[in-house]
């Protein structure tokens, strides 16, 4: 889960780019003049936030957008990037400019962090529909989020800044996990976003109405076979993400979106804290996650074999709770790659015949899972990508001799 966001983004800059794009696509709509706020604001950070600070400045004169982000505490890694502000759109047949895409990414991300909203999200895979109730509050300092699963086993996720708890009332268990500090917006912080326009083509499509809101519709069309297309609807007024469809050749594989949402509600911290206290006395489980490196674990990936555009994001050792006959915990190594929009996990573990039975491909909505028995190891590749891409990840893995 994303921890508190600390990008002091000038709200108007991306909005300007977004509106300009929209005005061009729908000429009937009069383009509104939006004042550009010159002074970048620095946001106060909550105590304990893993992300210490980030600042974006927009200068009207240079047109340069400077992103400086200090990463995790202790690492003191500072990235400074000069990024072009959205240039006047050029009428290229291949879609929008890279600057436009970046402006949309920033706008949508910013809205996801700063908005106060309550709504119902429906996820549909074509064969199943599940919904959850979501409340997200930001009071200027703290991010609070509560997600209640409405179908199946009762389960609630509570997030307070950079800590996430999943409550299982029937089991009286609370699973506490730190949110990934990179979740702040790794695509922007890591510089990965520079490659997104090489991998996806942005098309701003005619606006539509989603969950009672006028929404801008964007198509991120994959430029190759290693990823799916994404259709994105963002609230026209605020930029809040309203719906995401994952598509292949125009067919929707999976859709996630609000069926209704109230944006701009009053922050209701009691909704989170009361639920938190209801879980007093629950057994606390803190899954051990240990960050490592693939090559430190004796593995390497042949870069030429990997699908284009995927960059290594992380590698962790973790214990998975295994259900069924061979119930227990399995120690696995999980390596994660991202292309800036979607990500792939490769799980590596010793082969266990009693547990690892079905080698093959499993499809749930857009999520594909490929399992393969290689020598004495069991590999599981998971991602919202075509199976051929997963196959490439599995084949690229080599044991260092």
């Amino acid at each position: 889960m994303a921890p508190v966001l600390s990008l002091g983004l000038p709200l108007r800059a991306p909005a300007l780019g977004a509106r300009r794009v929209l005005a061009r696509v729908t000429p009937a709509r009069p383009a509104r003049l939006v004042p550009v706020r010159l002074a970048a604001r620095r946001r106060l950070l909550p105590q304990g936030a893993a992300v210490r600070g980030a600042l974006l400045r927009m200068s009207r004169f240079s047109g340069a957008l400077v992103c400086a982000a200090a990463l995790t505490a202790g690492s003191a890694r500072v990235l400074a990037q000069s990024l072009k502000a959205p240039a006047p759109p050029q009428s290229t047949p291949s879609g929008e400019t890279a600057g436009d895409l970046r402006a949309w990414l920033v706008r949508i991300h910013d809205a996801a962090v700063r908005s106060n909203y309550v709504g119902t999200i429906v996820n549909s895979t074509g064969t199943s529909v599940v919904s959850s109730r979501v409340g997200h509050y930001f009071d200027g300092r703290n991010t609070l989020e509560r997600v209640d699963a409405l179908d199946g086993e009762p389960r609630s996720m509570l997030r307070i800044n950079d800590e996430e708890r999943t409550l299982w009332p029937r089991y009286r268990v609370a699973v506490i996990e730190p949110a990934d500090p990179r979740a702040a917006f790794p695509a922007l912080v890591s510089g990965n976003e520079k490659h997104i326009p090489d991998l996806y083509e942005l098309h701003v499509q005619p606006a539509q109405r989603i969950a009672g809101h006028d929404a801008d519709r964007l198509l991120l069309k994959a430029r190759d076979d290693s990823r799916f297309d994404h259709v994105i609807w963002a609230d026209h007024a605020t930029g809040l993400l309203l719906r995401v469809d994952v598509q292949l050749a125009g067919r929707t594989l999976e859709s996630s979106g609000f069926s209704d949402v109230n944006i701009g509600v009053k922050p209701d911290s009691a909704a989170i804290y009361n639920e938190l206290h209801r879980a007093d006395g629950f057994r606390i489980v803190r899954p051990a996650i240990e960050h490592t490196k693939l090559d430190a674990e004796g593995w390497t990936m042949q870069p030429a074999m990997l699908p284009p555009g995927f960059m290594a994001l992380d590698c962790v050792r973790r214990a998975l709770d295994v259900p069924g006959d061979a119930a227990g915990q399995a120690k696995v190594l999980q390596a994660i790659w991202s292309d800036g929009i979607t990500h792939v996990s490769l799980f590596i573990e010793p082969f266990q015949p009693q547990r690892h039975r079905s080698e093959g491909l499993t499809v749930i909505g857009a999520t594909h899972t490929l399992t393969r028995h290689v020598n004495d190891m069991w590999l599981t590749a998971v991602g919202d990508v075509p199976p051929a891409a997963l196959d490439q990840f599995v084949r690229a893995l080599e044991h260092k001799s």
Binding site: M1, A2, I108, H109, I121, N123, T125, G126, T127, S128, V130, V134, V147, A149, E153, R155, M157, W168, Y171, V175, D180, F185, A187, L241, V244, T252, S256, G257, V285, L313, D314, V316, L320, D321, V322, P323, Q329, A330, V332, Q334, S338, I341, T342, H343, S345, R355, S358, G360, L361, V363, I364, G365, T367, H368, T369, T371, R372, V382, P386, P387
Partner: protein, 219 residues
């Protein structure tokens, strides 16, 4: 009008039937003849369109459209239907056939013809299920025949295929229990994957609660 009388009278009869069909008054046999004429005779199609157009315009002038628009739509629809691969034949239904058919094949009055449509509707529904399955399965079909996703129901349905060294190839259809077992085995991996997915820019909140029924806390 240089056509012989016999042709003309048969055409008139055909038009009468088409008109009856448009009004919802055609009987079984008449409907079948009308469909036949519609398929084989361009004039009948034109007449059918005229009747519909007249009806539409009587209801609202906004409904008056160029015949070519309909024609283009139908041509495109037929072409796409023809191109649609038939992967699975619907299973024969075990139930007894529907009750005796009413005398009127279609009707604007509603309920009297409903029983008659149940059979075709059920078949159409079966077809949609297959298409739904294909939508899910096609990405890893690679041109080969794909497998049905089984009859599994519930919060999560998965289909599993085997792979070999040349890529992904399908295997025989799984039973729902097998599908469920495969999905159960994968659930903790999916949960771990989705949890580390929170960095994705276009992620709806609560994404990692999706496979809620399958992942359970450590006992």
């Amino acid at each position: 009008m240089s056509q012989p009388d016999s042709d003309r009278s048969s055409t008139d009869a055909s038009r009468r039937i088409l008109s009856a069909l448009a009004d919802g008054d055609a009987t079984d046999g008449e409907a079948a003849r009308a469909f036949q004429a519609w398929r084989d005779d361009p004039d009948a199609r034109a007449a059918w369109h005229s009747y519909q157009l007249i009806g539409d315009v009587l209801r609202s002038e906004d409904l008056a459209v160029e015949p070519r628009a309909d024609e283009a739509f139908l041509v495109a629809l037929r072409a796409r239907l023809a191109a649609e691969p038939v992967v699975l034949a619907p299973q024969a239904r075990a139930e007894a056939p529907a009750a005796a058919a009413p005398a009127v094949a279609n009707g604007a009055v509603g309920a009297r013809s409903r029983a008659r449509w149940q059979g075709p509707m059920a078949m159409a529904a079966g077809f949609l299920v297959v298409i739904g399955g294909l939508n899910v399965l096609r990405p890893f079909g690679h041109g080969a025949d794909t497998v049905a996703a089984g009859a599994a129901s519930g919060p999560l349905m998965a289909a599993t295929t085997a792979v070999n060294n040349s890529g992904v190839v399908p295997v025989s259809q799984q039973t729902p229990a097998q599908t469920k077992a495969a999905a159960d085995q994968l659930a903790p991996y999916l949960a771990a994957h989705r949890q580390s997915a929170m960095n994705a820019p276009f992620q709806m909140p609560g994404n990692d609660l999706r496979n809620v029924n399958l992942v359970q806390p450590a006992q």
